[in-house]
Point group: D2
Chain length 201, copies 4
């Protein structure tokens, strides 16, 4: 298989990309100048060397110093007592951008699908248990998908942490359910309406 | 203008219907038998005769008895102390179908757009003020669109009712904001995330 | 079942309309004034009285005179030698609006699905055979859907008419296949490309 | 700017990719193993070394031999007398896959937008004029987008080649316009219908 086809195949595995668009990526690259391709090639090669996983929150962050802990985890202006548990780095980024939360984070690395036999292979069980040993911790906020798999993950994490949080008197909370921006009352499902009514303010 | 064109024009004003689809409606009717057309014609003529507006909640309901009050408003198994204010009949139907609420309703009849000069022409101001005089009333739940116009309506209604509710010690609440069913944390806007965090449980 | 529900059910059978939108139609009607509803009711009742099927082309047309033949069929400025066969009235309207054709039309009333056992119940076989007896006729243009069912209809019509057209030396043609407006060459299917190449000009 | 952000910016310039998806690409890469990233990095670097532009048709092709001419241009089973002019490599691929054409190709490299002042900077003018000097050439088939810019390109190319084709008696044709696969006659625009009628068969 030639370079065009090999690259097409690799791009077709990128999230959300089909065979036609991946071929278009290759033709797009062919129209770039050598400098651009060299830069892209170099950045991809350096990506994992320059990016590391934070030993505390498990998110990807640029290795800028010798530190093994990311800038969010070491930020002294953040509440040490609050830990928000999210599924993926992209969730962290969106929440962080919103300014809705001023505490620390933990990236699970995924979800636990319903009927999953080996949950500990789907999410960072050991790292999470280690992380919640933090003596400052007062509340763990579960910020997971509102879906059957998300709810299964929540149930699994609550059980997993239950001995620790009971002993250390840490509260576990879940993000509030209700009406999202843009909703008209003609459309939401029963579950959302029930939560919106229960959580009325 | 002939009958085909007149009907096409009328159907094109139906909600969500453009000129092409409205023409298709007319051709569809032309393929129906006479009995079907007579039934449709009769039902449309009878609609407003057989349907009336409930004097209490202002929603449309079938005139089955001599009563001027609908079956929901007269239902003794419903909580008289709770009144949910919605914009339209379709909102009432969706909430009722969900089983999320067991009190009474009031249909505003619309929204108050931002900068609207005559809000009392957009929503049922007199009927609402009258309705909240009910001596049993303990809480008014505002179930309005989560949008700028919905929020403007909420503000207007709260001000409108403020003298009455203060005097009678009636609580006014709003449906809870937060994550709706199906959401992944990568996507919600800042407002929704802030509410979801504030309303965590 | 009450009037609201009966009307909702009828509207839900209109082409392209689901249960939610059909309910919205009923609420829309409830907000109209009595005069509007009376007009709509009357027009629906009159529709089939004021509209008739042209004995020549079989399309719906307003009964304006005593004539049983529509204005297009009696138009002396149109070519009598050309007859375009379409599936539905909406096809006739779109072609007529385009100004692409200056002859006469015949509305088949539908398609012959593949494997259909009774094609003569799906399209107007008798009326078409009668229509092509016209002594002025020189060419029949088949303007049918470009789909398996459309092609099956074409095959069936060609066979049906073959004894007549051979005897009377009438040509049967099909609308040209090729590239439609808006196409980029990266996208069309093989069949369209083959036709576009064959019909290059 | 760190590696994550730099790569996100580069991916966001890929065709059809926005900032959110480009970030997702970077996170996707971070979850790949080192071997996969090294392979991707290497392929991108090699792409332009291993792929070259055919001196005859101007399309990208893998440098497998010492030849500066691609396998399609050197294929002896193809008609030398026919040359199909397309805008981009992706168009060539789709037509080639369809099996609709058995001659040679020329890739223009783009379109000439309406009102473009320097058309020779948008498409391969010199290479095309050179290519059509081929003594075997009998017909040039223009296979361009069916859009205002595509039609402008066609007009420009016809004028550009007019002295050569007149002298050498080469025919210039355009792919046939008409109904594409899947069309129902209710929908096409006037232009398509006019072409479909003119090109009826």
């Amino acid at each position: 298989m030639n370079t065009i086809n090999k690259l097409t195949e690799i791009f077709s595995k990128f999230p959300g990309i089909g065979p036609r668009q991946s071929k278009r990526f290759v033709y797009f690259l062919l129209t770039r100048n050598n400098g651009s391709l060299e830069e892209l090639s170099k950045l991809i090669l350096e990506l994992k060397k320059e990016v590391t996983v934070c030993e505390s929150c498990q998110r990807f962050f640029p290795k800028t110093s010798q530190s093994k802990i990311c800038d969010v985890c070491t930020d002294k202006n953040r509440e040490n007592g609050m830990l928000m548990v999210v599924e993926r780095d992209a969730d962290f980024e969106n929440i962080e951008k919103s300014g809705a939360f001023g505490g620390k984070y933990f990236i699970l690395g995924g979800k636990v699908p319903i009927l999953e036999k080996n949950p500990e292979q789907k999410i960072r069980v050991t790292e999470l248990k280690e992380r919640v040993q933090d003596k400052n911790l007062k509340e763990i906020v579960l910020a997971l998908s509102v879906s059957p798999d998300g709810e299964n993950t929540e149930k699994y994490v609550r059980e997993l942490l239950s001995p620790i949080v009971e002993k250390k008197k840490i509260k576990i909370s879940t993000l509030g359910r209700g009406l999202s921006t843009g909703i008209e009352l003609e459309y939401p499902d029963s579950e959302t309406l029930k939560n919106a009514f229960k959580n009325r303010t």
